[in-house]
Symmetry: D2
């Protein structure tokens, strides 16, 4: 349910509506907009029922939302959400590129790659300290040690950090270091984890699960927003299909579809989608052309020695070339690549 | 790597081999078998390398295991694993049926259904106290209150309890009440959770993820065994495909495939696979015919009022009929349905 | 649209209804039933509109059929269709097994396998004379020569022949030799071919396409019935999914689903579904347990030398064992295996 | 097998090599290249074996091709194939756009849309005279009458015609009217049809089947080339996956993958891939950005009255806008949109 109030409603009027909602056992999410104030009513029940809201001062309209998601939808918030990480704004006019190694392997590696991608124009640094691995015998990440190296790389380069959090009990620890909390594809429906990052006020990068529908992706994001953390960016990273030439099938249509249904930014991860270095740039260009707000790209200085996902990592020279291509495609769709303040 | 020792090796000889393995930074999993003692060597590294093991007393052979999984495979343990829950043995000659409501809704509901399924021949009681739901606005379960009702139902009926655990930090709490810890499909690759249940010594029912390959299912189980908990039963519950007539596509071939590759029991969940009451019995019969060790079936006394998954729940009379069919199909493949000791 | 007439309507009354339908440019499919005469009205238009039918003598009811298929559905024909091939009845109480080599390779091979499967209890002989092959460089079949060997095998064994027809212009030729015309999975939506076999009065075995939904399978069958050939049996042979352990994913739920929606018989082809000899028997048992009317099984006397699909072909001894299993599972679901009259 | 000869080999030397190949029962496909003359040897056998070829005059090298396809691969022909239709060249530097209605509905409709898309910059006219329809009761096309209207539209606008051929026996008829023969997704593995269009010398537009792998698409094209028709362009039109928000999942990675493996042009059909007008332009831009050689777009002047696929057809104003976007994206990847000679 959405309660629409006139833009110039006094705070007291808004508070009265919120109080009425809370008194009935629901939660109120107030969103002041350019034209109106929208208050979403959510709660663990099938049908929200609050009487007489329309009679309260300032209430223009009470709208029943039939979509299963409320807060991530454009009904509540028609304009795009813009998420700020340092001086980088994601979801606005500018295109944003997150780059770095799949995994933090050691101090030298992460510092060297960070400096390289910074020089080549990346805006945020990615790198995994905890790695969800299909096999228990694969390298699982440096954990807190990895976070420390990432923090050092941030200090040296100014690049804010995007890193994955894998379990509810490490959210606090990871949030101490990270600027953006990443939820990986395998955890897209780890609801306890979603709730936990929802309780922080850190931006979240939520990757689509490998067999998740768009509706399920939006509902996973809704878990985070419902906890009060509205800074969520989504990420298409390929889905699992019968086609086995590449690792996953990048679902390009997901980009305009998410843009239509939701106000949240959507990024593209062509590295995990393709698993093949030579396909990263074409899919990255395609994603920007389709309207993605940015990219997350794996870059490694020695892919042949990478502990994880070497074959899909770009070399710095490829990454530099890709940044040029992103600039051109961006211009063709009316968007500029963000220029970091030095 | 597998170290095969002669069956009559003295304990001291086995201990020396284990010590050598541990000294090199690996873990040793000793499995006394009918013919030989098998010691699996595992560790977080790509290639295990231990010199001179073959020279130790009692060592017959050192085998390199090329499959990605070690402990769940038949190389380490050729004979079927049998998991005991009370007087019920899963994975042996007998067929086992787990039944109960999708969700614990209230005390009366769970007690009533428990008594009903007990009377109709079920061997274990299922029921969700924590429910992973796609939407944050759907009923999420009664949590600890639900566990208490399950425990009461166990007391009244003698049926041991199978219930889902959704997050690492509730494993301890759920394990206090449950006899079998269930990991749901969405959490099949929640590796932190897998490790946590691996640290308990409770039997685990691990459901296949909706887009997981058989290899990934076996590797998820390997996470649990690797922590020392060898009591894992797998469960096929349908995969996600293009076919949309039913909720999921039950992968019948998964049953003989798992049986060939692994010593772990495999159950079938036709309720979640089909999402349609009228298809539960045919798929259940098929699963038994294909070699499944048992079934997990949703039964509800008032499906039209169920808070979750009503359309797929059997009525008690359907369940009774199904038990009769399972008995007949079981006989056709040389297996008896377990008869509980009253 | 269905026109229901009283069972004892005089032929003249039925003829008048048919005439009225034909006069309006539609086709009438008359089906005398145990309780009523059902006349389906079909035509190449979205909505059939015929006025005043209800006023005609003998007309009980005019029913609008909202399902996209008319003639294959149970609305028109509630009872199961039984298709007779020689003394073999498919879709009735008895289970039927079609067996033989994937491909007719030479005279000796087909005669030898035919005699073997006959001895072991098969009811019909399968064998491909035209083979649809993914690569133009693979063996494409012996064509008419192959048909002649099949005919000779029929003469020697009494087994009627099931063989694939690949293109509209060979329907006539194949129909001269074959007792059942098979449409392969890749041709399930070759509509010209469907129409052509629909014009014959030979029984048709229509295989599900590898990415066809059940609805599409039924509509493909509708193409054949619409031409007046009502002797169609369907066949589940596995669908294409992300799971790559086996060749296809056998969709076991398709069997009860087809049984619910359609009066046509449904067979199972576990050989093509699994592509792996060791999985054929478990999936075959499962299919019978789920309600399939029969099986189509590849048998080869020298699978290692087979020109096509060797790894999935059963040896005669496996086939014999499978026939025994089918008998037992059949008994468990109340069906007998057909016994051919010697 | 590939036989590489020096570029300046005399014709007699080439003829001698071809003769040797033919004498052994194989087919020879001679391809004079910029650097060398490549002769592909094909035949219906697993392994081609011709002795002493290397000893013949002009032969530089005999290369064994391990890929399952020979003629469509870049081994035989490293440079891109360019297919000429009138003054339009597909697969070269320029981008080509095919536009028109899904189905030819009547004379006025096709003439009106043809003139409109011509004005807006389309290079070829599409329109179906035979329509493969899932249901036998859906509109199946005007057949030859439709071809005549298309021919008239060509006369009036100068736009060459792309139209589908559905069965082997109509190839001759369709080829009398059409400039490009289209093979639809459902017929991608209708091998008889592929052979038949392979025998013509008309350019062929081969659409990927909805569950075909890239390898299968290339092998389907190989059927056509193997018959001597080398003018084949491929078309990605979406594959069938679990995601059901849109009709199909456009496989964007297929474009760089096909470009890497094959010299044949690849087009994109965003209309059928998405089934939703508002997603056509984003996916079209993406395809061009990923390296597609052109687009095939459904345009209708009255989509709400269209007999087929109305919801996915662009209005002329959308199409005009899209042409502008294609131009910009093309420029960003170094390609110009073809300008037809008036």
């Amino acid at each position: 349910m959405l309660v629409m109030m006139s833009k110039d409603s006094p705070q007291a009027a808004i508070d009265r509506v919120v109080q009425r909602i809370v008194d009935q056992g629901y939660q109120a999410h107030v969103l002041p907009g350019a034209v109106r104030v929208a208050i979403a009513v959510t709660g663990n029940e099938k049908a929200v029922r609050i009487e007489n809201l329309q009679a309260l001062e300032g209430v223009l309209e009470v709208i029943s939302v039939t979509k299963p998601y409320k807060l991530v939808g454009r009904d509540w918030k028609p304009e795009n959400s813009v998420i700020q990480v340092g001086d980088v704004k994601i979801g606005g006019d500018e295109l944003v590129v997150i780059a770095g190694p799949c995994t933090v392997e050691n101090r030298e590696q992460v510092l060297s790659i960070a400096q390289q991608v910074k020089k080549d124009g990346a805006h945020l640094l990615r790198g995994g300290a905890w790695k969800p691995r299909t096999s228990p015998y694969a390298f699982q990440g440096l954990k807190e040690e990895g976070l420390k190296y990432l923090a050092e790389a941030r200090e040296k380069t100014g690049l804010k950090i995007v890193t994955e959090v894998m379990s509810p009990e490490t959210v606090g620890l990871v949030a101490e270091y990270a600027d953006v909390l990443q939820i990986g594809a395998r955890n897209m429906q780890n609801f306890t984890l979603l709730e936990e990052v929802g309780k922080t006020r850190k931006p979240v990068l939520l990757k689509r699960g490998m067999s998740a529908t768009i509706k399920e992706l939006l509902l996973a994001a809704e878990y985070i927003l419902q906890e009060g953390n509205y800074q969520v960016m989504l990420c298409e990273r390929g889905i699992r299909t019968f086609e086995d030439s590449l690792r996953n099938t990048f679902d390009i249509s997901a980009i305009p579809l998410v843009k239509q249904l939701s106000h949240l930014p959507i990024l593209a991860d062509p590295s995990h989608a393709t698993g093949d270095r030579s396909k990263v740039a074409p899919v990255a260009r395609a994603a920007i052309a389709a309207g993605a707000d940015g990219l997350i790209i794996e870059v490694h200085n020695k892919p042949e020695e990478a502990l994880c996902d070497g074959p899909q990592s770009l070399l710095p020279e490829h990454f530099r070339k890709l940044m040029g291509e992103v600039e051109k495609i961006g211009a063709a769709v009316g968007r500029k690549v963000h220029k970091s303040i030095e």
